[in-house]
Every structure is written in structure tokens, then in C-alpha cells.
């Protein structure tokens, strides 16, 4: 039984990294296509990671490395809690709340290592990253709470099974508003345009990634990939029924990603105060109304 | 009408008391206030004596053998007044000395000006 668990864990982690990197490559390819140019090959992210690993990186101290490892571990562990189609390795040990908390390890890890790098630009980037995270957390919390109140449970696996019987929660009457709100904040969670001011290549000099090179850049990209995967998988599991087996799950994932990728390709990048103001205006209002609807209907 | 004739002494005593109080309340000069006090005290003594008075009563002293005890005035208020007068003297003496000292310090006896100890 333990071997099955270990296999599942390996399978889920590897697959999620692959899916994440593939999606980054796909997004580059799609943006290029929309911009009427060919764009780099789909496997470009994999090539980059291999290249970065072969370079010698510059490190600023033990916490600089530990912070990066800590953040990637956080993301990897979150993936284990998310059901991948039918498989959810750490099913019984804590539901959405644990996922929420584990999701904050990643930004914290990067913040610590960027802080250690003692580069003022990196600190500016970190403060922006945390502000953005706080921006979308406001609505994300309300959405998750409305879901949990609606399904009367904390664990994500129960929510997926409930959706299998009674259909996608996106279409359930009381959850539509929350679903809409979630759609609005998805770009911020995944860190793609219009909320790309942290990961964006142009912002590299004043983002948290300022001091990262070689291995660290590889880890950062992996962490970004996992982040995209987590955002999407949360959306799919909570609102689109999560897929009875891995295949359905991946298709839904891809479709959802395609929708946001189109927005990513054409939208400009917000400044941080525009981003926070935008996140706190409409999505927060929708999420709040959603929560009230759910609260009223299920009391 | 008999009220006035019956209580003339009391009315006299109380008017002295009220006059004394009026002086204390209204006057600015410290010496006048002290005089007001002596009037106030005299009024009280008169009232005390009036309480003990008996119509056509004689002084309670058996100087001659043949005096009738029934007609004598009540001696107790007189004893009280004796004590009260001496207390009045003592207080007035102290008041006068303090007035002198006030004049030595402030150069004036006007109570409206002696206001350093306030609030």
C-alpha cells in the first residue's frame, strides 16, 4: 500500500512539473502565434532548465539557497494535496485550509531568499509580490469559503466527488457568482498578464528574480510552472468537476489555460497599485455577493 | 399681635444674629467682619439668656435668706453663656492677631484682595 502511495507521489509530482513547463512553452508559442510570429519551440522551457543547470550560479549565502529550496518544496507538497484526476496522494491529511496555508510557503521562501540577496531591487520585487498575493487572497478566501459552506466540508476530495454527482459547481446556481469572481482573479494567481509584474522578463531587474542565475533561475521557473499548475488545478477541481481520470482532468486543464492564455497574449501589464485596486474592486465584490448568496441559501 | 409682644427678646436676639451674619457675608474689610462676628456672638448669647428667662424672675443667687426658689431664673443658660463668652473672647483675640499679621504681610485688610490661596 505504501509503494502505491510512493508511486502516486512520484507520478503526480513529475507530471505536474511536466504539465507546468509544457504550459509555459505553450503560452510562449500561442503568444507568438497571436503576435504573427513563429515563437520558440514548445520544448523551450525544458531546454532552458537543462542549460541553467549546467551553468555556475552565483549564491549570496546559505539562506539564499535554503529559501529557494523551501519555496519549491512548498509548491511540490501543495501539488500532492490536489487531486490529479482520480489520484490524490495525501487525501486524508487536511483539506482546502491546509492547501491555502501550504500555498503561502512558496512566496515566503522566495521572499526570504530574495531578501538575503541584499539587492534593494529584489526587496522591491518581493514587496510587490506579497502585495499582489494579498490583493487576490481577499477574493480567493471568500470564494473558497463559499465553496466550503456550500458543500459543508473542508476537504477538496469531497468537493470533487460532490461535483461528480451533482454536476460542475460552476453551473450550480448559488456558486455561479463565486465562479465568475474566481475567473477574474485567475490571472493574478497564475501570475500571467495583466498581473505579470513579478515574473515578467522585462521586470527582471526589479523583480525578486534579480539575483537569480543558473540553478536558481531553473528553480524559480519550475516554481512558476508549478504555480500555474496549482492555480489551474484548483480551478478545475473546484469548479469544473475535476475529471474522473487523469485524461479528462488534463483536457479541462488545457482548455482553461487556453482561455487565460488568450487574455495573456493581448493585455498590457498593470502597475502594482492598479493591480491591487482592480483586484479589490470587482472580483472582491462578486466574491462577497457569492458568499452572501451561499450563506443565505444554505443556512 | 401677641407674637410680637410675647417673643420680643427672641426677635431681638435673632435680628442681632441675622445682622451679624449679614455683615460677615457682605463686608470686604477683615476688621468689619470681625466686628460682625462679635455682633453675631452677642446675638447668640442674648438668645441663650432669653431661653432661660422667667417672667419677673430674679437672679438665681441666695444672697438674702428669704428668697423664693420658684421665682428664680434658670441658671443653666447663664452658665453656658459664661463659657460661650470666654470662647468668643478667645476666638476674637486670635482673629485680631491674625488680622494684624495679615496687614503686616499683605498691607491691606480687603478680603477681596487676599486671594493668594485659591484653586
Amino acid at each position: 500500500m505504501v509503494i502505491v502511495l510512493v508511486l502516486q507521489i512520484l507520478f503526480v509530482t513529475l507530471l505536474s512539473c511536466l504539465v507546468g513547463l509544457f504550459l509555459i512553452g505553450l503560452s510562449r508559442k500561442m503568444t507568438a502565434r497571436i503576435h504573427w510570429r513563429y515563437g520558440p519551440p514548445l520544448s523551450q522551457p525544458f531546454i532552458d532548465i537543462v542549460k541553467w543547470f549546467s551553468q555556475t550560479a552565483v549564491s549570496h549565502g546559505k539562506l539564499f539557497d535554503a529559501g529557494m529550496i523551501f519555496s519549491l518544496t512548498g509548491s511540490v507538497v501543495v501539488v500532492l494535496f490536489l487531486p490529479f484526476g482520480g489520484i490524490c496522494p495525501l487525501r486524508g491529511s487536511g483539506g482546502l485550509l491546509v492547501i491555502l496555508y501550504l500555498m503561502l510557503i512558496a512566496p515566503l521562501g522566495i521572499a526570504l531568499s530574495a531578501g538575503e540577496a541584499a539587492n534593494p531591487y529584489a526587496s522591491i520585487g518581493v514587496s510587490r509580490k506579497l502585495q499582489l498575493a494579498f490583493g487576490y487572497e481577499l477574493s480567493l478566501l471568500m470564494i473558497l469559503l463559499s465553496l466550503m459552506t456550500y458543500y459543508r466540508t473542508v476537504s477538496i476530495v469531497d468537493i470533487v466527488e460532490a461535483q461528480i454527482q451533482s454536476g460542475w459547481s460552476l453551473v450550480q446556481l448559488p456558486l455561479v457568482v463565486s465562479g465568475l469572481a474566481y475567473l477574474l482573479i485567475m490571472p493574478a494567481i497564475m501570475g500571467i498578464r495583466p498581473f505579470e509584474m513579478i515574473q515578467a522578463p522585462q521586470e527582471i531587474s526589479s523583480g525578486p528574480m534579480a539575483e537569480y542565475g543558473g540553478k536558481f533561475l531553473a528553480f524559480a521557473t519550475l516554481q512558476h510552472a508549478l504555480n500555474i499548475y496549482i492555480g489551474l488545478s484548483l480551478f478545475v477541481n473546484l469548479f469544473l468537476g475535476g475529471g474522473s481520470n487523469a485524461g479528462y482532468f488534463l483536457i479541462k486543464l488545457l482548455l482553461a489555460f487556453m482561455v487565460f492564455q488568450v487574455i495573456h497574449a493581448v493585455w498590457p501589464r498593470f502597475r502594482i497599485e492598479q493591480a491591487v485596486r482592480c483586484l479589490w474592486r470587482w472580483p472582491a465584490l462578486l466574491a462577497f455577493i457569492g458568499l452572501i448568496i451561499v450563506w443565505v441559501t444554505t443556512s | 399681635m401677641n407674637f410680637l409682644s410675647e417673643y420680643t427678646y427672641y426677635i431681638g436676639a435673632f435680628s442681632l444674629i441675622i445682622i451679624g451674619l449679614y455683615i460677615i457675608l457682605v463686608k470686604k474689610n477683615l476688621m468689619k467682619v470681625i466686628i460682625g462676628f462679635s455682633i453675631f456672638d452677642t446675638g447668640i448669647y442674648l438668645f441663650l439668656i432669653a431661653v432661660g428667662y422667667l417672667r419677673e424672675g430674679t437672679a438665681p443667687v441666695f444672697s438674702k435668706p428669704g428668697l423664693d426658689a420658684g421665682k428664680m431664673v434658670d441658671p443653666v443658660p447663664q452658665a453656658l453663656v459664661l463659657t460661650a463668652i470666654v470662647i468668643g473672647v478667645a476666638v476674637l483675640a486670635l482673629a485680631v492677631i491674625l488680622a494684624i499679621k495679615i496687614y503686616a504681610h499683605y498691607g491691606t485688610l480687603n478680603l477681596r484682595k487676599i486671594k493668594e490661596q485659591r484653586w
Binding site: F53, S54, Q55, T56, S59, H60, G61, L63, D65, I69, L72, T73, V76, L80, L90, G92, S93, G94, L97, V98, Y101, L104, I105, L108, A111, L112, G115, E116, A118, N119, P120, Y121, S123, S127, L130, G135, E137, L138, L141, M142, L145, S146, M148, T153, V154, S205, S206, A210, K215, E273, V276, V294 | L21, L25, V33, L111, R112, K115, E116, R118
Partner: protein
């Protein structure tokens, strides 16, 4: 170890420390630590036992009773442990300052009076120890002279007001039930009307609310904690605030019985909802005010106010899970908050008095151990999974969501995210970023400070990974209160609608970490770069040292700052000014002119006569 011997040891010890201090400073420090060690051992030996002891037969013909039960045991042990760490911490910290005997005497007096409160079995001894704690805290808060005086004054005025309200409540309970002993009150309180119960709850709510710094009554806490000497502010913040929580639990669960409390009074406007609402506000507002602070200890003080809100939520909610969440959060908060204050204290000690976040930075190079302790403390504060804060917060969220009050849960979760922001700000401004030139020769924190820090950080992690230890004792106390305990095992909580198993999370994180660390070492060896050799993407590298700390979360903070003016504080200072003006006005009655004074006498006489003539009072 009998209860009254324990109290005698602790109180006698504090007096002895003061006297010994006159002879030799070192002996006094050692004695202080021994006294607290003895207290911790004594309390630990009382584990699981619930017994009563008579302290003194008749104080104004009221018996003074002492009582130990599992619930009081947790509080007593936390007080003793955190007190011990604080005293060890102050070994070096206080040496150079003046009046050290006074400091140790007051410190031990505060700790012993807190233990007294927790062990008291009746309201009178509870009140006596409560007052001793208040005035000894007052003397300690104003220890640091200049601004500490205003902070001390604000503290003592509010705590005297609070304890007077409690005294009135206590005596009205006596008139109602005829006794002051807790068991007696619970026995014959059921006859009381619900209106009377609500009145009593409001009174005690004000008294405990002031000590527990609930939102409108929290005004004294930020200045008090930031001005008090650091070892004391870790005691003050760690456990003294929780005496209010202890009072709440004692009142709601011990005396008024929770099922009575829950459905007391009107459906919507009852004491429980008021408490919950204020608890929520206490979480939200202070968290974001903490974000705006630039002084390290003031930031931590505001964070204490916020964390106290979690406990109030836990306690006031009424289910056994929420109670265990609240109590566990008390226990965890005591650990990591006193740890954080010690970290800030160590930094303040080394940089002799610098607490301003904007003028520190990059101290990780110079004080690595303090940084590590600070990091663990911050993770505990946030509730990062491997630390103890996570379990208690999870319990509170879980009860709130399952029992269908999502808005409270939303406020609590938002509070957690606010905590993340200001904790990172604390860690970043002090330890990360560029080291200012003047701190280049800074050396690490002295050993006497490192020991308690390491001990507390270990405790934070151990109880994070093994929450079963404290939860087991909390279950014992819940049985004591007549509530069904929580289904727990060594690694976590197993409830019907959602379980957490720290074992899985811990192994997942550690294994993932090790694998990734190996993956990380697989590549080429990194070259170390000096701290100041930074990449500026072509822009000219600034010559001297820059630390990005002023207006750290600027767009966000400037957006929420207008809503965060501390209205309660303005209200109280306006009240104080009003009383002062009234005082000034009234003393004008004594005009100094004898004529007026004599007029007053005759006026008094005339009024009395007028009353008789007009109303025939006689």
C-alpha cells in the same frame, strides 16, 4: 507539591531576590532563575491532578481557596516556562541598566501573581492576585523612564477601571449566590435570570476585555508593550494578556456553563455575538495597523492585539473544538510571541536601543542564531504548517466554517494574510537586506539570550509537528468543563468533517526538501558573491548601502491607511482631557475669597431649611 507551598515559594522567592540583590548581583540572578525553575517543576508535578487547598480561612469572613485543574495547569505551566525564559533572557539585558533589583523583584512578583490568579479557587483571591499583578506591571512598564511614563499611566488607569468593574461584578455575584467560591457560584447560579446573567457577563467582559486588549479596550497595549523593557514585554505580551483569556474561559465555561452562555438572551443581540463581533474587529484592525508601524516592538504589540482576537473568537464560539483551538492558540502564541520579543530585545541590546525598523538591516550575517529564532517565531505567528501556530488556527477556522459562520472565518483568514505581510516586514527590515556601515562590528547575541530563544523555537517546532501533546491536556480540561473532548491522536486532529495529520505534512515537506536539496546539489558548485556585489541590470550600482524598508508595502498601505486611524485611542485621550478640564473648572469654586466661602455655608444651611419647608422631608 501543595498549592500554597508553591505560592509561598514564588512570592517569598521574589522578595528574597530583592533582598539578596543588595548583597550580590550574581547570587540574585541565580536565585531568580532557581525560584522559577522550582515553580515550573512544582506545577509540572501537578499534571492531571485537580485538587483544592485553603489559602486562608477568613479574609473579611471569606475563605481564600486555591484550586488546580487541567485547564489551570496549562496556563500555570505556560506562565512559569515563559517567565523562566524571560528571566534567563534578562540576565545580560538588565545588567548595564539601573535599578536591577527592582526589576527582578517586580518581574518575579508579576509572574507569581499570575500563577496565583490561575490557581485561585475563589473570586476574592482571584481579585487580590489580579490587583497585585496590575500594579507591579505598572511599575515595570514605566521602568524605561521618558515615554514609558505615559504608557504606564494609560495602562494603570485602564486596569484600575477594569478591576473596579470586576469588583462590582464579583460582589453582585456574591449578593446573588451567597458565596464567592467558584463551585458554589456555579451551583446556585442557575436560579439567576438571564438578564442578570447578561449584566454580569458584560461587567466581567469589560474587566477581562481590558486585560485581553479587545478592540475598544486595547488602547493601553501598544505603548505599554513597546516602552516596557524587552524581557518584560515578552512576559507582558506572551502571558499577561492571556490572563484576560483565562478569565473569559473561567467565566464562560467554568461558571456560566457554556450551553447556558450560547443560547443566552435575544437571538441576535446577545453577549456571544457581541464578543464574536469584537473578536473579529480585534483581528482585522490591529493587524493592518501593525503593517503601518515602523517601531519593531510596537509592530509586535499590535500583532499581540490581533492574535488575542483569535483567542476570543475561539472561546466565544462555544463548541469544544473552538475552545481547544482558542486555548491551543493561547499556548502557541505565548511561545512564539515571547520568542519574537526576545529576538527584538536581543537586537535592541546589541545595537543599544535601536528599535526603528528603518535603520536596521542585514543583521543575518552578524546574529545568525537570533535570525533563525526570529524566522521560526515568525513562521509560528503566520501559522506555517510545520509550526504550532498552524494547528490552533486550523482548529479555529475549521469550527467557524463547519458551524456555518463563513464571515468570521473570512476575517480570521484575512488576518492571517495581514500577519504574513507584517511578519515578513519585521524579518526583512531587521535581518535581510544590506548591513548598515555602523553595525559591521556587531557581535552575536550573548549566550544567556540565545538559550531561551533556542528553547522556545524548539518548542514552537515540536508542538507544531506533535500537536497531540498540548491537545491531550486541553481535552482533559474540556472533560473537566463537562464538554465532550476532541478526537485527537499524537499527530493531529481527526474530526468527521476534516482531519489534519501533521505526520503526512511533515514527512511530505521534509522528504520534498531533501529530494530538492539533492537535486540542487546535483548541478555545478555555486560561487559565493559578497553581499554588496549585486546585479543592477545595467543601471549604475549605488556606491553606498541602500536598504529598501521605508514605505515597504507602499501602494497597499497608502490605500488602507486612511481607514486605520485608531479612533478608540482618540476617544480615550479626549475623555482624559475632558476630565482634566472639568477638574480645572470645578476647582474654580474655591475662589479664595472668604466672603464666598461664608456664603457657601449659609447657602448650604438655607438649602437644607428650604428642603424641609418645601417638601416636608422630615
Amino acid at each position: 507539591m501543595k498549592l500554597e507551598i508553591l505560592l509561598a515559594v514564588v512570592f517569598g522567592g521574589s522578595l528574597l531576590t530583592y533582598l539578596l540583590g543588595k548583597i550580590s548581583k550574581r547570587a540574585r540572578d541565580i536565585l531568580a532563575i532557581l525560584v522559577l525553575l522550582a515553580a515550573t517543576a512544582g506545577i509540572a508535578s501537578l499534571y492531571g491532578r485537580s485538587s483544592t487547598a485553603i489559602l486562608c480561612t477568613g479574609f473579611l469572613d471569606f475563605p481564600l481557596v486555591l484550586r488546580i485543574h487541567p485547564f489551570a495547569w496549562i496556563f500555570a505551566l505556560t506562565i512559569a516556562v515563559v517567565g523562566l525564559c524571560a528571566v534567563i533572557f534578562s540576565w545580560h539585558y538588565i545588567r548595564k541598566k539601573g535599578r536591577t533589583d527592582f526589576f527582578y523583584f517586580m518581574m518575579l512578583l508579576v509572574i507569581s501573581s499570575m500563577i496565583g490568579i490561575v490557581l485561585s479557587g475563589d473570586f476574592l483571591s482571584f481579585y487580590i492576585f489580579w490587583e497585585i499583578m496590575s500594579w507591579s506591571t505598572f511599575l515595570l512598564i514605566s521602568y524605561n523612564r521618558e515615554e514609558a511614563i505615559a504608557a504606564g499611566m494609560k495602562y494603570i488607569v485602564m486596569s484600575v477601571a477594569g478591576s473596579l468593574v470586576m469588583l462590582v461584578g464579583m460582589i453582585s455575584l456574591y449578593t446573588q449566590t451567597g458565596t464567592l467560591v467558584f463551585e458554589g457560584i456555579t451551583r446556585n447560579l442557575n436560579s439567576a435570570s438571564s438578564g442578570y446573567l447578561q449584566f454580569i457577563l458584560i461587567l466581567f467582559f469589560v474587566a477581562f476585555g481590558i486585560k485581553n486588549a479587545i478592540w475598544p479596550l486595547h488602547v493601553w497595549l501598544p505603548p505599554a508593550h513597546s516602552e516596557a523593557p524587552s524581557p518584560f514585554s515578552s512576559v507582558l505580551s506572551g502571558i499577561l494578556i492571556k490572563i484576560g483569556t483565562f478569565g473569559f474561559i473561567l467565566l464562560i465555561y467554568g461558571i456560566v456553563q457554556v450551553q447556558v452562555f450560547v443560547n443566552l438572551g435575544h437571538a441576535l443581540f446577545n453577549v456571544r455575538n457581541l464578543l464574536l463581533l469584537l473578536g473579529a474587529v480585534t483581528i482585522l484592525l490591529p493587524t493592518f495597523i501593525a503593517l503601518l508601524q515602523d517601531d519593531a516592538k510596537r509592530l509586535l504589540a499590535w500583532s499581540t492585539v490581533a492574535q488575542a482576537g483569535y483567542m476570543i473568537l475561539g472561546i466565544a464560539y462555544g463548541t469544544s473544538e473552538s475552545l481547544s483551538g482558542g486555548t491551543l492558540h493561547f499556548f502557541n502564541h505565548a511561545l512564539f510571541k515571547s520568542l519574537l520579543f526576545m529576538v527584538v530585545g536581543a537586537v535592541e541590546f546589541r545595537t543599544n536601543g535601536v528599535r526603528d525598523l528603518n535603520s536596521l538591516g542585514g543583521l543575518i550575517k552578524k546574529m545568525p542564531v537570533t535570525f533563525a529564532a526570529g524566522l521560526i517565531g515568525v513562521c509560528g505567528l503566520i501559522g506555517v504548517p510545520l509550526t504550532n501556530g498552524f494547528v490552533s488556527k486550523w482548529l479555529i477556522y475549521h469550527t467557524l466554517i463547519v458551524n456555518h459562520s463563513p464571515f468570521l472565518a473570512f476575517v480570521a483568514l484575512l488576518g492571517t494574510w495581514g500577519t504574513i505581510l507584517y511578519s515578513y516586514k519585521l524579518i526583512h527590515h531587521i535581518f535581510l537586506g544590506q548591513l548598515p556601515r555602523k553595525y559591521e562590528q556587531l557581535n552575536a547575541a550573548p549566550v544567556s539570550m540565545k538559550v531561551p530563544m533556542i528553547f522556545l523555537s524548539l518548542a514552537v517546532v515540536v508542538f507544531g509537528v506533535l500537536p497531540g501533546l498540548p491537545l491531550h491536556v486541553i481535552n482533559l480540561s474540556e472533560i473537566g468543563f463537562g464538554m465532550e473532548p476532541l478526537a485527537i491522536n499524537m499527530w493531529g486532529v481527526v474530526t468527521g468533517s476534516g482531519t489534519i495529520q501533521m505526520l503526512n505534512i511533515a514527512t511530505a515537506l521534509t522528504l520534498g526538501g531533501i529530494v530538492l536539496w539533492l537535486f540542487f546539489r546535483m548541478g555545478r558548485k555555486n560561487t559565493r558573491a559578497d553581499q554588496l556585489d549585486n546585479y543592477a541590470a545595467g543601471a549604475p550600482v549605488p556606491a553606498d548601502r541602500y536598504q529598501y524598508s521605508v514605505k515597504f508595502y507602499d501602494p497597499l498601505t497608502s490605500m488602507i491607511a486612511p481607514y486605520l486611524k485608531d479612533t478608540a485611542d482618540n476617544f480615550y485621550s479626549a475623555l482624559a482631557r475632558g476630565i482634566r478640564n472639568v477638574g480645572n473648572g470645578i476647582r474654580r469654586i474655591y475662589t479664595g475669597d472668604v466672603g464666598n466661602y461664608v456664603m457657601y455655608i449659609i447657602l448650604f444651611l438655607a438649602i437644607l431649611i428650604f428642603i424641609q419647608l418645601y417638601w416636608k422631608v422630615w
